[in-house]
């Protein structure tokens, strides 16, 4: 089982965070993500799933609790420092730079590697191998991409640094059903190819359960249930989310 095989890549203890002063959205969440495994966080709307990822990536500072990766305390660091530690974040919105070409977008993904031409050329080739559609349009403005291709580009951009921890927020939201398996395939590939720890927030419970190794159910900013994938059948998971909605 990958769970016992992986070492702990990311650990959250009692994390509290939110946007408005005095209003906590994440209220004491504790969880961990292992290397070479996909950890999913599911829960009803408003459970604090996206806020949790934004807090890990440094867009929000935790009000209490600790976020650690190896020996590093991440809480309070700005996003660019967290990125430099080998953590990637794929936000829910399609995240591309429309006025830049497709290739420039990918190069921006390799910002922390700038100056290492050979490495960047290598990674570009690797990305183009996986996404021939992007290779075809490499010199086009990225605003000319279709919605699915733009999503591919925002995922591919984060793969340029081969991060050791990947935070993924709703990767299939708003995608054509035919593209969804492709997105999940990229994530499972990152798990095996670079032994990355993947923390995936998803509304698409069915699709996410298929690739997950470990499950957390988040409700009102706290972990309500967790366990290896074997303990989470689709029926039990749906029932847990329904129970959260009833309160």
């Amino acid at each position: 089982m990958p769970i016992s095989a992986g070492s702990e890549a990311l650990r959250l203890d009692g994390v509290v965070s939110g946007y408005e002063p005095g209003v906590d959205v994440v209220r004491g969440a504790s969880l961990r993500a292992l290397a070479g495994a996909i950890t999913i966080v599911i829960g009803p709307n408003g459970a604090g799933k996206s806020t949790l990822l934004r807090t890990i990536f440094g867009f929000l500072a935790p009000r209490a609790g600790t976020i650690t990766s190896g020996d590093f305390e991440l809480g309070g660091l700005p996003p660019h420092r967290i990125k430099a530690l080998g953590i990637g974040y794929i936000p829910q919105q399609i995240n591309i730079f429309p006025s830049l070409s497709v290739e420039e977008n990918l190069k921006m993904g390799a910002w922390t590697l700038r100056g290492r031409r050979a490495t960047i050329a290598e990674r570009l080739d690797a990305v183009y191998d996986i996404f021939p559609a992007l290779a075809e349009k490499r010199n086009h403005r990225s605003s000319s991409l279709s919605g699915g291709q733009a999503r591919m580009l925002s995922v591919a951009r984060e793969m340029m640094t081969q991060p050791q921890i990947i935070l993924v927020d709703e990767p299939t939201a708003g995608l054509a059903p035919s593209v969804v398996p492709q997105v999940y395939a990229i994530l499972t590939q990152a798990r095996t190819a670079t032994n990355a720890a993947i923390l995936l927030v998803d509304q698409n419970v069915e699709g996410a359960l298929e690739i997950a190794d470990y499950v957390y159910v988040l409700d009102l900013g706290r972990v309500r249930a967790d366990g290896p994938i074997a303990e989470f059948s689709l029926e039990r998971t749906r029932e847990l989310i329904r129970a959260s909605l009833r309160g």
């Binding site: 002063p21 730079f97 006025s99 830049l100 420039e104 921006m108 100056g115």
Partner: protein, 274 residues
């Protein structure tokens, strides 16, 4: 000048009303460097020095005055930026008046009148045009060919996106503000022998800068270039064909026309839908 305003706006998302003050500082630095250090024959050495000094000034002021806009809970960012930059404009103008008095000065020029075809042109004006074109070319190469230039364009697209890519956004803002005011200083230094050096000499160029922005579209760099050209042509044609006294009025008429026909400017994007 217009390029500087649009450059800062497109990245930092604020309109810097103090651009005229940085134009003024650029012209004073040029005056001081030419008269005290380099001498009138080496004015072309003084220009990059003045520009570099204003870049440093801008980069030092940005963390103090502009950054608080993004930290903490500033509720009305636009109003904050307007108040802070107008205050800065008044402050810098007042300091300049205090130090230099209301006198109009000139660094002088070693360039005589040159004749372009049938037109006699003052050498200083022609030099300003040439240096400005070279500077634009360098600016374009910098924006298109370097990592930092690419990050600046990316930041203009998405401030969140560049942070996700691992760019230190605070540094980008600082650089963009310094670079933008340095462009104003370039205009000030180049035009010092033409429009003279005094504490409020930035006012007319700031007005022209904003006219160009309205014509070309806020936040669009090609718009700033096209707007500048169009404004110059319209003012000159009006001067020759109608009456020279109203030179500045023709530009404002063009602005009114653009606002009626295409309020976002020639290259502008609609930011808010009703």
């Amino acid at each position: 000048m217009a390029l500087g305003i649009t450059f800062i706006y497109s990245i930092v998302r604020l309109i810097n009303w103090a651009m005229g003050a940085f134009y003024m500082v650029g012209s004073y630095l040029q005056f001081i460097l030419v008269t005290q250090v380099f001498g009138v024959d080496r004015w072309w050495l003084a220009v990059p020095c003045s520009v570099a000094l204003v870049f440093v000034l801008g980069a030092l002021l940005e963390p103090i005055l502009i950054r608080p806009m993004f930290a903490g809970n500033v509720e009305r960012k636009d109003e904050y930026a307007t108040v802070v930059t107008i205050a800065l404009l008044l402050f810098m103008t007042a300091v300049a008046s205090g130090i230099s008095g209301p006198y109009q000065r000139t660094p002088g020029s070693n360039l005589g009148t040159i004749v372009l075809g049938p037109l006699p042109v003052s050498g200083a004006r022609f030099a300003a045009l040439v240096v400005a074109l070279v500077a634009l070319g360098l600016f374009y190469l910098f924006i298109k060919r370097t990592w930092l230039g690419m990050a600046l364009r990316a930041a203009a697209d998405s401030r969140t996106g560049v942070q996700i890519a691992g760019v230190d956004l605070a540094r980008i803002d600082q650089f963009a503000f310094g670079g933008g005011v340095a462009l104003a200083a370039l205009a000030g230094a180049l035009l010092a022998p033409v429009f003279l050096v005094f504490p409020t000499n930035g006012a007319m160029t700031t007005t022209k800068g904003f006219e160009i922005i309205i014509i070309g579209g806020l936040g669009s760099i090609p718009g700033a270039l096209a707007g500048g050209l169009l404004l110059g042509v319209v003012e000159s044609l009006g001067t020759v064909l109608i009456a020279p006294q109203y030179q500045n009025a023709y530009g404002f008429l063009l602005v009114l026309l653009i606002l009626l026909v295409r309020p976002v400017g020639l290259f502008g994007k609609r930011l808010r839908e009703v």
